[in-house]
């Protein structure tokens, strides 16, 4: 790891890197506007990248690419990208309306990634860690053999380095084009994360939007600690399938991170700007290490369950006191 001891807020320190990344990879000039999907506010692209793709106006968490994710979590965005094993390409010679090999080629040229996942080794507030990030923009982040091997590689590395494993899940589920081989990634990744747990190392899952299907039914629900991002969709079955099965409309907020928090499936819902400091804090506790070094973020621990801040409060009819906006969902 780099020995740069410069103490500045991590957000400030990664900003130049972010702009560089987006400038190269997505070829988006800094002065482009980006319209928020939720509140329709026009945001400057460079403001958005600096805010880790959270709308400065309404806190809507847009999807973050895998590389940007690892940049945002490792100290100074400095980490070793781990080489991942090659897997048999298109083992089933799968073809729907398009050949799987063509879909893969398109996804690769669009994202400049080999598959929907990357693994990094670096430091999180000075704690050695292996972090895995899935990328929704690569075929919906779907889990096939490449994802399985990536998670196995990451788990083995964590055990070898005696480092915790953090997985940022972002996936619609198993990759149908790999058929039964994609289903087998459920037990394979489950074995992998158990190797980490049995080595006495922390295994943290961050469920981002979306974490569904076979991914939620395997490693993404087996963490020591589950942290999710606001409003992320997390669940097993697709909403449409459920509605067709039960023949009724699903309630608002169904399968959101907040819904899972309420139902005991995740430990906390954390604003992206506080993700790194939260991870750092839980890792340090689990590893019995002292507090984060000077220069790291030191946010208060999340205490209240985050609720939408813009909910109208009808105190006259309920007599209830207005709930203060959660610190987790307010702009940092």
């Amino acid at each position: 790891m780099a020995d740069d001891k410069k103490s500045s807020s991590w957000l400030t320190s990664i900003r130049p890197r972010f702009n560089k990344v987006f400038g190269q990879q997505r070829e988006t000039p800094d002065n482009l506007w980006h319209k928020c999907k939720k509140c329709s506010q026009m945001n400057f692209h460079r403001d958005l990248t600096a805010a880790l793709y959270v709308c400065p106006n309404c806190n809507y968490h847009m999807r973050l690419g895998a590389k940007e994710r690892l940049d945002s979590v490792f100290d100074r965005s400095d980490y070793r990208v781990i080489d991942l094993p090659d897997v048999t390409a298109d083992p089933l010679r799968f073809r729907d309306e398009k050949k799987y090999t063509d879909r893969l080629r398109d996804a690769r040229s669009k994202t400049q990634m080999k598959d929907a996942i990357i693994v990094g080794l670096g430091k999180v507030d000075d704690v050695d860690a292996v972090a895995v990030a899935q990328d929704f923009s690569f075929m919906g982040g779907s889990m096939g053999m490449a994802t399985g091997e990536a998670i196995i590689t990451a788990a083995n590395l964590a055990v070898t380095k005696k480092a915790p494993l953090i997985i940022f899940a972002a996936s619609g589920g198993a990759r149908m084009q790999e058929g039964i081989l994609s289903l087998m990634q459920l037990p394979r990744t489950t074995v992998a994360v158990n190797l980490v747990k049995e080595a006495g190392l922390p295994y943290i899952v961050v469920q981002t939007d979306p974490t569904t299907g076979g991914v939620s039914a395997s490693y993404a629900m087996l963490g020591d600690i589950h942290i999710s991002e606001p409003n992320a969709t997390i669940g097993f079955a697709g909403k449409r399938v459920i509605e067709q099965t039960i023949r009724e409309k699903l309630p608002d907020g169904f399968q959101t991170a907040e819904y899972l928090l309420e139902h005991g499936m995740v430990d906390m819902v954390v604003h992206r700007s506080q993700m790194k400091s939260t991870l750092s804090r839980v890792l340090r506790h689990l590893l019995k290490r002292g507090p984060a070094p000077e220069g790291a973020e030191n946010d208060p621990l999340p205490l209240a369950s985050p609720k939408p801040t813009n909910k109208p409060v009808d105190s006259a009819s309920t007599g209830a006191e207005a709930e203060p906006p959660s610190p987790l969902l307010s702009t940092p």
């Binding site: 084009q177 058929g179 039964i180 039914a217 629900m221 459920i242």
Partner: protein, 323 residues
């Protein structure tokens, strides 16, 4: 013999209907009776040959229908024939008892075991009771409970898989369907006792793997095992669930496909015309597979059993020889 014919079995249905008609004919004198008898023998031979031919060349979609055949033997049938002193155990100790997964203690070939599997039901009432074999979180949590118990007491585990998949419902999601499936798969891969699984009908995705991450896995000849139902896959990738036959073929869902991909260890042959035409034989052949598979695990240490099971899954998909 079964009377429920699948669409593609129409020629067989016609022949067998004709045979049944002939059998009810009063013979007109001795010579007439002999003629009818000869005709019956001839038609029966023809039907058998056609059935044999048809079942040798079933398409993946046809196999999917055979795997879902309403008269196909179910978990309960296997337990009745193969397990003595079956003692069903109920409940996840948290919320309820899910009848989509049935399990308990029993004696297999003299040895005490934990046996469990999906039960689809056999008529409207039992199908509703068992939710068509589609488990909710409580089913997987009961499975975890039973596997834990087997592990504590050193009892081998036998699981029979027959599910369209985990139930996609509001309550199931609310109570953590994904987590329940994940924990059950994890438990399969953590226990130190022998675990043998057989896919007897449908191996539907996470709902199947959650009780089938075993030391040895068998599949009945016309059973299927897939990451998503052909209809589901077709509606997503082809945007048309009517393309299920294409999806079934593309996804490689048959026992033969899975054997060649080294996902399963053995194919258990079915009687000509499918398991439902001779349930007893199907069940006893399945019993023989389980007996041999258990015997093969017999001298292994608890550590070996767990390590080998894990290694088996880690190796899956590596070094594939693509034809």
């Amino acid at each position: 013999m079964s009377t429920a014919y699948l669409d593609f079995e129409k020629p067989i249905a016609d022949l067998e209907a004709k045979i049944a008609d002939l059998k009810t004919l009063p013979g007109e004198g001795e010579a007439g009776a002999v003629n009818v008898k000869d005709e019956i023998v001839r038609l029966e031979a023809k039907a058998a040959a056609q059935l044999n031919d048809m079942y040798k060349r079933l398409t993946p979609w046809q196999k999917t229908q055979v795997a879902r055949h309403p008269d196909r033997p179910h978990f309960i049938d296997y337990v009745n024939d193969l397990i003595e002193e079956f003692t069903p155990l109920a409940g996840d100790r948290g919320f309820g008892d899910d009848h989509a997964i049935v399990g308990g203690l029993g004696r297999f070939k003299g040895e005490s075991v934990v046996v469990m599997g999906h039960e689809k039901g056999y008529d409207t009432e039992t199908r509703l009771k068992h939710n068509f074999g589609m488990a909710r979180p409580e089913g997987y949590r009961k499975a975890v409970r039973l596997m834990d118990m087997a592990d504590r007491f050193g009892l081998p585990i036998i699981t029979l898989v027959d599910t369209a998949g985990a139930y996609p419902g509001l309550g199931a999601e609310e109570r953590g369907q994904a987590e329940a499936i994940a924990r059950s798969t994890e438990k399969c891969l953590t226990i130190s006792v022998p675990m043998i699984s057989v896919v007897i009908g449908e191996g539907g995705s996470g709902g199947a793997i959650s009780i089938a991450s075993a030391n040895a896995i068998g599949m009945l000849e016309h059973s299927t095992y897939a990451v998503i139902s052909p209809e589901g896959c077709a509606s997503i990738l082809w945007r048309d669930s009517a393309r299920a036959a294409d999806a079934a073929a593309a996804m490689k869902v048959t026992a033969q496909d899975l054997k060649s991909l080294k996902i399963i260890d053995q194919i258990i042959a079915e009687p000509i015309g499918g398991a439902h035409r001779d349930p007893m034989r199907t069940i006893s052949d399945t019993g023989r597979f389980i007996e041999r598979a258990l015997a093969a695990q017999h001298n292994k240490s608890p550590q070996e059993l767990k390590a080998e099971r894990r290694q088996k899954f880690l190796e899956m998909g590596r070094n594939l020889q693509i034809a």
